[in-house]
Assembly symmetry: C2
Homo-oligomer: 172 residues x 2
């Protein structure tokens, strides 16, 4: 590794930290709970009927942690537990109306914050950035669970031609 490539790696780390801080702040404004709550809402909007177990893998929480998370979201009236039809042990999770609205807000504000940053680049630079990010995401994709994890806050209406597309059925 050259000094220059090390410098680039470090710049990437700084950008990741800076942007993550910013996105965290934005989400906190939209959503009074911290942790994986926003990600759970987004994922459930994208894949309604997910089980506790599938969600726990997607969020990389213990199943217990996911139970508590769903308790909180249900208490806030954002998520609804329902008996699953095929397996009586499992539950199926759905967003309520309020949950869908919360998800919309989260996705919108997140994207606005990101656009404010990429907006400092020219059109050509944005194209370059997109291409480089695609390569980075592909290189770091991992298995299906990891891919779903990476996409857990994505806005599927915006992410056309996802570079790490995964068969959603792999989630349950």
């Amino acid at each position: 590794m050259t000094d220059e490539s090390r410098r680039t790696a470090n710049l990437l780390g700084a950008a990741v930290l800076c942007l993550h801080d910013e996105l965290k702040t934005v989400l906190a404004r939209q959503f009074h709970r911290s942790g994986e709550g926003p990600a759970a809402l987004c994922a459930l909007g994208h894949q309604p009927g997910l089980s506790n177990d599938a969600l726990s893998r997607l969020l990389d929480l213990t199943h217990t942690g996911t139970v508590r998370l769903i308790d909180r979201l249900a208490e806030d009236g954002l998520v609804r537990r329902q008996a699953a039809e095929h397996d009586k042990r499992s539950i199926a999770l759905y967003l309520t109306e309020a949950g869908q609205a919360a998800r919309e807000n989260i996705l919108r504000e997140r994207l606005a914050a990101l656009e404010a940053v990429t907006g400092s680049l020219s059109g050509d630079e944005q194209k370059d950035l997109a291409r480089l990010l695609e390569k980075l995401l592909q290189a770091d994709a991992g298995d299906d669970t990891h891919k779903l994890r990476t996409c857990r806050l994505c806005d599927s209406r915006v992410c056309t031609n996802c570079p790490i597309l995964v068969s959603v059925s792999g989630a349950n």
Copy 2:
């Protein structure tokens, strides 16, 4: 905003999330405490003698949160509180030998993880990425405190020619 620029923004968000997860995992392996502990160690290595107050601004914690954080780090034998010479109210924080070693590990593993990702790009692509990241970091730099915050996990030996260079004296 075009659909394409929205897509780029979303890709950036996905990459930030994915890499942040990965860096978090790496730090957790190196350092059994979560939260801002690693950042505190790195910052204190870079700016020895920082006060609780300056550190709390840098980490964006309440001063109380920082007191407790330092309690934990001191308990682990990584940080030492010392009376400040100029202002008897404030304390000066220094890393112990063990603290310096912990910091080294954190910086090394963080950079290794980042290099593993950027390593998937060609030399030219890495140069492009560096240039774009510099622009993004500059666009999002903010005031001196925000800049220091962005750099709180950087390895100063590697970050030559920092794109958002800040006068360190602004920190105290």
